[in-house]
Structure formats: structure tokens, C-alpha cells
């Protein structure tokens, strides 16, 4: 079980959180003209890297904030966590 530092609450066990996928995905603008390929890339296609990964987590059984986690997908090492409007320090 991972230990994740919520930027609002501090370190908590993984079972308080739910995973939210790749944090680098940007939703297309509302009303934006977009090709089917680009839209499909947004909806379906995700990289599956081994190593450092920026991802979203939701503190569901806590403060209910979404935030960013920089995690190694192979070792589970967490390098940093930050609020949505912040950038990682490492």
C-alpha cells in the first residue's frame, strides 16, 4: 500500500485515494473544431511509461481534492506531489 502526500492534508495511506490517470492530458477547449484522431487521442490513447509518470489522484476519503503526483511506475517511488495549480519541485 502506497503512502501518498496529499498537498492539503499530508501523508495518508493509498486506500484514502483514487487514481485519476495521466495528469498531462489537456482537455480540448469547449466548442473547439477538432479532428476525430485528435479527439480519440484525448479520450482513449495514453502512454504507459515505465518510470517517471505525472498522474492525478483524488483524495476521495479525505479533503476531496484532485492533485498531481509524480511517481515511478516501476518502483512506486513518489518523487513529489503538488496542487493542480502548482508544478512539481523534483
Amino acid at each position: 500500500m502506497l503512502e501518498i502526500k496529499c498537498p492539503y492534508c499530508g501523508k495518508r495511506s493509498q486506500n484514502e485515494f483514487s487514481y485519476g490517470g495521466d495528469a498531462t492530458i489537456k482537455r480540448p477547449q469547449l466548442g473547439e473544431e477538432i479532428s476525430t484522431e485528435d479527439w480519440d487521442n484525448f479520450v482513449y490513447y495514453r502512454d504507459n511509461p515505465r518510470g517517471k509518470h505525472s498522474e492525478l489522484w483524488h483524495h476521495v476519503s479525505g479533503c476531496r481534492q484532485w492533485f498531481k503526483v509524480s511517481r515511478d511506475t516501476a518502483t512506486h517511488e513518489i518523487f513529489d506531489t503538488c496542487k493542480m495549480n502548482e508544478d512539481f519541485n523534483v
Partner: protein, 999 residues
């Protein structure tokens, strides 16, 4: 035979003043307080404990603790019965019952032993080879035979009556193992102010200090251990746990420990758990788990009476028990000589067989000074004795040590063997540590760590006491310094122990001349040297493959005594060094864990939380049959007298259509939405338009996922300019809230909106049916309930008996209907009031079944249709999709596949005979007589008995549905052998114009 194998000294840890009676295979024996089942049996001269897994060979004790591969028993009877329990880990308790496993009719005479005679039929990989042909034999003959023969004990078939608990702990430093290095590190860390947990598997702290003749400072090792424990006990920052095995090391320094709380207590109190599972998140973990002695492979080295030398010593020193009175010590190193000396102390002269040419170690000299001669350059070739060893064939080794040049038979009643020591690296390996091979000790030790874990002492390959203590004090101090600023080191005291000479790299004896007895490596899985040879001969090279083919190290003991010997043998045949052969991966649990402990208190009703509406007690009192809706308990129907479900549901639903019904809808998800951008937000979340919804009005909304699939639906109302009340389905309530939070926090943080779940703040009561208006008018005389005063999709605030109520005119049943919302605490009161006033309107409560019936015959979609595979078009909600604005998932709707005109869409089905109910999940096909595979048009999503037309009705989602209306098709369920001719009709079976809700 009454404890005739006890020593006469009383320097151990048992209490000879307290007798404990126990039963083994029906015979009553006694032992003493402090005994294990193993030590008590040995004290009574019992060595034959069970039969081996594959060959049913008689087996006894090899070890004294967790390493024991043979002595597994079935404990207790009935619902407390437990299989495969290692007798060396069972503390003796009055009335304990144990019996042998894997034998029939008895452990002395076991039919299965025929396997031993037929052992050529069971070579390595026999599962893969023997039973492959003919193919048709597998299911009927081989598989049942193997199933019957395989396995050791019997799992109980009754529910576990015991109580298990879970506990969560945090500490700075967790020390696993209380031998010299563990005690030293715990003391150093605790004295430096760190929060320390010290875990010890055994009932006594001290590890090797309980059996080794050493001094630390001016105390004996045993005294120093007890003194250190007293110091630790007095410190508030230390938690000491004995009978506690740390068996798993997971990510982010999460370790899991099993504590045996009351197995050793005769009559534990009712609420004392049997075992407790501790989840310990440790800042740093110190692995001081010591080492396990290695056996030596020689002919018939598995007979009862053949034990590890260290085990024999511990039985003497801790349990005051002799494993035999005519011992042979067989060793490739010096440490076994301490066992010899212990026998001598008890006036028993052992025969000593040493594979080495000589040794000048202190203990060896001491033995020689006592006048004992040592057979150097010798080994044991074979043993005899069916149910217990009675003699050994000792051979003189040739110079290459690859054959015996002479052999002699020597009587004995036990052999105490030592092949050196293996560091217990399991936890480090579980933590991701890349192990390295240490050539000096011929074993793997932890090397490159991935987590905050440090191995010390014997677990780190540091086999001397001085080294262990020094490492312990240093590492304990260093690691604790990360958590405190006291900077208070503790010095390591001087210690004294005998010096040892090096072991010999020899773990497998040659075969005796002219014979081929089995030389076992893995006792629990019956893997012998010949099996490893066969695997290599057949081309298996990777150690992982050899392991799987031979099953070496794959038994319940995870190869604690066999892994390294197996590796060493492979490396010898392959002429490779051990690190090139590599080692297999260790995985949790280190020792077997009861399933009950893993489950903890989450059994029966506690498996999941139960959510109940505030009206629940009324439902109970009024004979409701409940159904689980997620975590909620909802009334399914309210049978009267001897009514079955169908009659009750039909009565309840018909009463809604005819009079008025009342339904508890508290479970619907409710979300409060506030902020200046709330209308814009809803406009983006829902497929329809929201900007112009007037205050005081509700609107039905559908929300999609980005992939275009319908996610949820519900009514949302505008309470004031910037304040909305959203409802969701019961099932999706939590997911919708997360979804809204995601878009507000991640995607559109510029929107000024707040969302909050208010599901538990409101109690919702649906009042539906043609008489609902008259009923509510009577309840709320101040409210104008007319069609003009409170029109469809309107809402009004009112009160009754001083209780504030919000009345929505919304309908799921398709009838004229209202939903009364009150603060949760008043839900029951309001419900009772409506029932009371409703009596004169023939009100009846209705449950979820009638609720479904009403919505199905109206063609209203629910979870069965909104199953994550349907877009609005498919379920007849296209009119809900705005063409003017963008919203979540809209772009997906214009993808090619989503705009095909013959997509599967919603229709109604009526059986042609107007009688046969169509099972939900049935397939829809066109031609009943076609040859399989028959093209499938779609499936039945929801079925009911239409109370309006008094015949079955179903909703189905079928290909090109709208154009199939009026056609006859078949609803089939091949598994149930059902084929029902049906007519396709509109899904809006009742009141397609929707006039009733607006009446």
C-alpha cells in the same frame, strides 16, 4: 513413555511445575508450560509426526521453529480445525488436540506409502509427463486421482468461529527479530528517542542468545537479552511484540505482522481476538531476522530422528528435551560442536562426523579435550530405520570427496546435522533488495536496497556476536538520528564467544556403494538430488525453471531449508558459480497466515458498511423484504399475508396506477451546487440546456462521459439564481460527485462553483398516483397543488407541523407524482404522517420492484439501459441532446460508429402468448430455426409484469430497433433452453404521450 526424553537440568524456559495435557493421534500425553507441541512430543519420545507429500515417507521434526518443513499437523476439531500447522510453532495449551496428516489409515501404517515403492513413477515433472496421455483420461481418471492424493491437511468446512482484528501502527524504526543485533539496534534507536517497534516471532525474546554460550559485558548472553528487554519495556517510545511474525514487506515501507494473541491461552475471554494483523508503516525497517541452519543431503536423510544440529541444541537448552540419547553429530562446520557439547553436558557422548580434514576451532578442541574422538573426512552415506532412525552408515570420503572409500554401520537414535547457515533475507528481498552472493559464507546477503530497509547481524551475513552487536548499535543509532535530534549514541559492550573455523563447501554426500537411496533437498515437497539431476538432464537451465519443474522450494515453507542447497547443487552440476545460477524471488508471506486474520472483522454483516434510510425501522415493522442497492438496504416489496413476490409487486404497482403509493427514495444521490458559474457548469455537464431554467423549476438532465456514453441521469432544480439541487441515481451518486469535482478542479478551475454531497441531509419520499394531489393538498393545505399552482417539474417550499418540506412535482412512475423532501431526522415522521393521512386515499407503500415495474412499462430508462455502452440515441434520449452548445462527451457523438442509423436502440417487447415472462439478459434473434452461430440483434435489459395491460413486458436494445417495431422476433436463452416468440413494440408501453404526469 512419560517425558523420558527430558534433561535433568532446569536451565531452560519451561515450567516443570505446570503440567499440560494434550492429545496426539488419540493418545493423551503431557508436557509443561513453555513447551511447543514439537518439544512436548519429542520429550515423550514421539518423532513420527506425519507422512511426506509425494512418497508418503514417515517424517518427524527437522527444525525447532519457522523453518520446519516436515512436522505439520491438523489442529483441533470441528469449526476450529486447522490444517498444515507447523508443530514447532504451536505452543502447548491444556487440551490441545493434534493429529497427523497425509496418511491413511494411520501414520504408522499408511497405504499411500506404496508411492515410495513406486517412486520411479513420480520423477520430477511427473505431473507434466505421466498424465498427458491419452487426453481423454485427464478429466475422468488422472485429475480426480491427483486431487485425492494431493494436499496435506483438511480445510474445515464450517465457518471460522474465532475473532480476528486489524491494527494500524506507525513508527520511526521497526526492528524485526530480537536476537543480539535486533536487541542492540532497538536499544540504540530507542535511547536516541525514536519510536520503536520490536517484533519477535517466538514467545521469548533473545534469539540465538537463548542458546549460545556467550558473554556480553559482564553478563551471559541470556541475561543481557533479558536486561535489554527490561530496559526497552520501561521506555514509553517502545512497543514490544512477541509471538509476532512480520511476514510481508510491501511498498513505501508498509509491513504486515501477524500476532498470535490467544492461541496459547487456555480459556481466552470472549472478545480477545485469536490473532491480530498489524499494518505497520515504518520510517525505517531493521531486518535482524537471523539465519537458518542448512541440512545436508545424504541417503535417506529424511527419517524421523534426523534433525538440524541447532534445533537439537535449542530443544535441550530452551525446552530441556533430548532429541535422542545416542546421537550422531554430522557437520561441515564448527557450530554443530556446540550441540555436541550440550549433549556432553547431559552425560551423553555423541559420535561426531565431520566432512572436513580437520578444524582447530575452539569448540572442536573443547570437544576433543573431553575425550571425544571425531571422524574427520567422513560423511553419512545412508540411514536405516523405518518409522524412526536406528542406524547410520558412516563412510570415509576419498580425497575429492566424491565417493566413500569405506563404510561402517553405527547404531544411533538421532542425527544432528549442520551444513552451515543461511541468512534469512526474505524480508529484504520482498522489499526489493537486490541480493549479492557472499563467497565467505556461501549464501546470499542483502545488497542494493530499494526501500528504507537495513539488514544487520546474521541476516546480513555477519555471523559473529561482536559484529552483530556492533552493527546493531551503530545502525540503530544512525537510523534513529533521522527522526530525532538527540544525537545520543549507545556504545556496544564487549562480548565474548568462541572462535570458529571455516565451513567446508560440501552439502551433498556421495551415494553409498551399490545403492541409490533418495537424498532429499526439499523435505516438504519431496524433492531429491536425483530430481534436480533429472531436470538438468532434460534441459532445464534457469533456476526459475528448475524450481518449477522439480517444485523445489515451492512448498509452504518456501524453501527455507532447501533453496540454497538446491542452488548449490545446480551450480555444481552446471560447473557454474552460484551467483551465475542466480536465485529465485522471495514473496510474502514469509510464514503461512490464517485467512481469518487477513479478513479480520470484515465478515458477515461487517463485510461492507450498511446504509439505511431514516425510514428503515418503519419498513422493518411493516414486513418489508429488503434488497441491497449498493451499500443501501432498500425495501423490495411489502408482502401481505401469504403473498409471494409477484403478487405483492403487482398489487403495489397497480395501486399506484389506481390510487396512490408511497416509496422511500432517500437513497437517490443529492448534490448541492452553488456559485455564480453554476448554470454554465451544468450547461457543460448535461447534454441539454440549463442557462434559462427559471428559479423554482426542475429539469431532467442526462450527462455523458467523454466517450459519449450515458453516464447518469436525474432531475436538477434551481433553488435560487446561483443555487442548484442535483439528484443522481443511487448507484452513481459517488461517481457523479467525483466527476463534477474533477471538471471543477482539474479541467475548468476558472469556474466559480462549489459542489457538496447532501445525500444524507435529505430524506426523500415519492408520492405517486392519481390521488397524490388530493393527499398532498390535505397534508399541505397552504400550498396551491393545482396544475397551475404547482405544475409538472415545479417545486415549492412549505411546512407541516413546523417541519420544513420541499415538494417537487416530478415523476419516475409516469403517474401524477410528487417527491417530498425533508431534513433526514424528520423523514420517518413525515413518512408516517403521509401514511396516516393517505389511509383515506387507499395509500400503500411500494418497493423497488414495483418502482421498476412502473418505470419499465413507461419506457423510462435506468441502470440496465444506461450500462455504459449506450449513447443518448440508443436509449431514446436524442431529444435531450442540445445541438447549440458543447458539453462533456459531445464530440464523440459525431464519430462514424455513433451516427450509424442501424445502431442498437431501445424498444419494447411483448410475448405473443401474453403469458411468458422474458428473462432479463435474453438474446434477441430473428430466425429461431437458423443454425448456430445465429446473428444476435440485441438483448433484453429489463422485464416486468405490466400491471396496466396484465401481461409481460420487456425493454430490449436491438439493432435498428425503431424499424423493427411491429415485427415478430424471438427472445432466447440457450442456457435455460428458452425461446419465446415476441412482438416488438414501442418502449413507451403506457401513456406514450406523457399526459398523466401533466394531469
Amino acid at each position: 513413555m512419560s517425558n523420558s526424553f527430558r534433561t535433568t537440568n532446569s536451565t531452560g524456559l519451561i515450567n516443570k511445575d505446570k503440567k499440560i495435557n494434550f492429545t496426539f493421534n488419540g493418545t493423551i500425553y503431557h508436557g509443561y508450560e513453555g513447551d511447543t507441541l514439537a518439544s512436548a512430543l519429542i520429550a515423550n519420545g514421539v518423532h513420527l509426526v506425519g507422512r511426506s507429500f509425494k512418497y508418503h515417507r514417515p517424517r518427524g521434526f527437522l527444525g525447532v521453529g519457522v523453518e520446519e518443513p516436515n512436522a505439520m499437523v491438523q489442529l483441533h476439531d470441528g469449526n476450529k480445525s486447522e490444517p498444515n500447522i507447523i508443530a514447532t510453532e504451536v505452543e502447548l495449551v491444556e487440551g490441545l488436540k493434534a493429529k497427523s496428516q497425509n496418511c491413511w489409515p494411520s501414520v504408522q501404517f499408511d497405504i499411500g506409502e506404496i508411492n515410495n515403492v513406486l517412486n520411479r513413477l513420480f520423477p520430477a515433472g511427473f505431473y507434466y509427463k505421466t498424465f498427458m496421455w491419452p487426453k481423454s483420461f485427464w478429466m475422468k481418471i488422472y485429475e480426480p486421482f491427483i486431487r485425492k492424493a494431493a494436499g496435506m491437511g483438511k480445510a474445515p468446512l464450517l465457518p471460522d468461529p474465532d475473532r480476528y482484528e486489524h491494527n494500524y501502527e506507525h513508527c520511526d524504526v521497526l526492528v524485526v527479530g530480537s536476537g543480539p543485533s535486533g536487541l542492540a539496534s532497538a536499544l540504540a534507536a530507542a535511547k536516541n528517542g525514536a519510536r520503536v517497534i520490536l517484533a519477535e516471532d517466538k514467545p521469548n525474546y533473545g534469539g540465538s542468545l537463548l542458546t549460545d554460550e556467550v558473554t556480553i559485558g559482564n553478563m551471559s548472553g541470556k541475561e543481557w537479552a533479558s536486561d535489554t528487554i527490561s530496559q526497552l519495556k520501561s521506555m514509553p517510545n517502545v512497543i514490544l511484540k512477541k509471538r509476532s511474525q512480520v511476514f510481508g514487506y510491501y511498498d513505501h515501507n508498509m509491513t504486515v505482522m501477524i500476532e498470535r494473541v490467544s492461541d496459547h491461552i487456555e480459556n481466552p475471554s470472549k472478545y480477545t481476538p485469536r490473532q491480530r494483523l498489524h499494518y505497520i508503516r515504518a520510517g525505517e525497517v531493521i531486518v535482524s531476522t537471523g539465519s537458518i541452519e542448512r541440512p545436508i543431503s545424504f541417503g535417506n536423510n529424511d527419517r524421523p530422528g534426523i534433525v538440524l544440529a541447532s534445533a537439537a541444541k535449542e530443544y535441550m537448552k530452551v525446552y530441556e528435551t533430548l532429541v535422542g540419547k545416542k546421537p550422531i553429530i554430522f557437520t561441515n562446520n564448527d557450530t554443530a560442536y556446540s550441540t555436541a557439547l550440550e549433549f556432553i553436558k547431559n552425560d551423553i557422548e555423541p559420535i561426531i562426523v565431520d566432512t572436513r580434514d580437520s578444524s582447530n576451532g575452539e569448540l572442536v578442541k573443547e570437544v576433543q579435550q573431553k575425550g571425544i574422538s571425531i571422524k574427520f573426512n567422513s560423511g553419512i552415506a545412508d540411514t536405516k530405520g523405518h518409522l524412526k532412525i536406528n542406524s547410520a552408515i558412516i563412510g570415509k570420503l576419498d580425497s575429492a570427496k566424491e565417493s566413500f572409500i569405506s563404510e561402517e554401520t553405527v547404531e544411533c537414535d538421532c542425527i544432528c546435522m549442520s551444513g552451515g547457515w543461511t541468512p534469512t533475507v526474505h524480508l529484504s528481498s520482498q522489499a526489493g533488495n537486490k541480493l549479492k552472493f557472499n563467497d565467505d559464507i556461501d549464501a546470499f546477503v542483502p545488497d542494493k536496497k530499494r526501500q528504507k530497509e537495513t539488514a544487520i547481524g546474521a541476516a546480513n551475513g555477519s555471523f559473529t556476536l561482536n559484529q552483530s552487536l556492533a552493527e546493531g548499535f551503530q545502525v540503530g543509532f544512525d537510523l534513529s538520528n533521522k527522526f530525532t535530534d538527540q544525537n545520543n549514541p549507545t556504545n556496544s559492550p564487549n562480548s565474548n564467544e568462541p572462535s570458529y573455523e571455516k565451513h567446508e563447501k560440501l552439502w551433498c554426500m556421495p551415494l553409498p556403494s551399490g545403492k541409490k537411496p533418495k537424498r532429499f533437498i526439499d523435505f516438504q515437497n519431496d524433492v531429491a538430488v536425483s530430481d534436480v539431476e533429472l531436470a538438468i538432464r532434460e534441459g532445464f537451465r534457469s533456476i526459475e525453471h528448475v524450481k518449477r519443474y522439480t517444485t523445489l522450494g515451492m512448498a509452504g515453507d518456501q524453501g527455507k531449508t532447501s533453496n540454497l542447497n538446491g542452488l548449490q547443487y545446480v551450480s555444481k552440476i552446471e560447473k557454474k558459480i552460484v551467483p551465475e545460477v542466480g536465485h529465485t524471488t522471495f514473496r510474502p508471506p514469509y510464514t503461512p497466515v490464517t485467512i481469518g486474520a487477513i479478513v479480520g472483522r470484515e465478515v458477515g454483516n461487517h463485510y461492507l458498511p450498511t446504509r439505511k434510510s431514516p425510514i428503515h425501522t418503519w419498513h422493518e415493522e411493516n414486513n418489508a423484504v429488503f434488497v441491497a442497492a449498493g451499500l443501501w438496504q432498500r425495501p423490495r416489496y411489502y408482502p401481505r399475508g401469504s403473498e409471494d413476490m409477484n403478487s405483492a409487486v403487482n398489487r403495489e404497482a397497480a395501486n399506484v396506477r389506481k390510487n396512490v403509493g408511497i416509496c422511500d427514495v432517500t437513497t437517490l444521490g443529492k448534490i448541492d451546487i452553488k456559485g455564480p458559474d453554476a448554470p454554465e457548469f451544468l450547461n457543460r455537464v448535461y447534454t441539454n440546456a440549463w442557462l434559462k431554467l427559471p428559479v423554482g423549476k426542475a429539469r431532467y438532465g442526462v450527462m455523458l462521459r467523454e466517450d459519449g456514453m450515458v453516464f447518469d441521469d436525474g432531475t436538477t432544480s434551481r433553488l435560487s439564481e446561483n443555487h442548484f439541487h442535483m439528484t443522481t441515481t443511487t448507484a452513481q451518486a459517488a461517481n457523479v460527485l467525483s466527476h463534477l469535482e474533477y471538471y471543477l478542479q482539474v479541467v475548468w478551475p476558472d469556474l466559480d462553483v462549489n459542489v457538496l454531497s447532501t445525500t444524507e441531509q435529505w430524506s426523500g419520499i415519492a408520492v405517486a398516483g392519481p390521488k397524490s394531489r388530493d393527499l398532498l393538498s390535505k397534508l399541505f393545505p397552504d400550498v396551491d397543488m393545482s396544475n397551475e399552482g404547482l405544475p409538472f417539474m415545479g417545486l415549492v417550499d412549505s411546512s407541516m407541523d413546523g417541519i420544513k418540506a420541499r415538494i417537487y412535482r416530478i415523476s419516475f412512475s409516469g403517474e401524477l407524482a410528487y417527491e417530498v423532501n425533508v431534513e433526514s431526522n424528520y423523514g420517518l415522521y413525515m413518512w408516517k404522517k403521509i401514511m396516516e393521512v393517505g389511509q383515506s386515499f387507499d395509500i400503500q407503500p411500494y418497493g423497488t420492484e414495483a418502482l421498476s415495474t412502473l418505470r419499465i412499462e413507461m419506457g423510462h430508462v435506468a441502470g440496465a439501459e444506461l450500462d455504459g455502452r449506450t449513447i443518448p440515441f440508443d436509449v431514446g434520449l436524442n431529444s435531450m441532446v442540445s445541438q447549440k452548445k458543447d458539453f462533456i462527451g459531445k464530440r464523440s457523438l459525431s464519430k462514424d460508429a455513433f451516427t450509424e442509423s442501424d445502431r442498437q436502440t431501445i424498444v419494447g417487447l411483448v410475448p405473443l402468448d401474453k403469458k411468458t415472462k422474458i428473462p432479463e439478459g435474453s438474446h434477441i434473434i430473428e430466425d429461431n430455426s437458423a443454425v448456430a452461430p445465429i446473428p444476435k440483434l440485441g438483448h433484453v435489459s429489463s422485464s416486468c409484469w405490466s400491471v396496466e395491460y396484465n401481461n409481460p413486458f420487456s425493454i430490449a436494445i436491438i439493432k435498428d430497433g425503431k424499424n423493427k417495431i411491429g415485427k415478430n422476433l424471438y427472445a432466447v436463452s440457450p442456457l435455460k433452453d428458452i425461446s419465446i416468440p415476441v412482438e416488438v413494440v414501442s418502449s413507451h408501453y403506457v401513456d406514450p404521450e406523457g399526459s398523466r404526469v401533466r394531469s
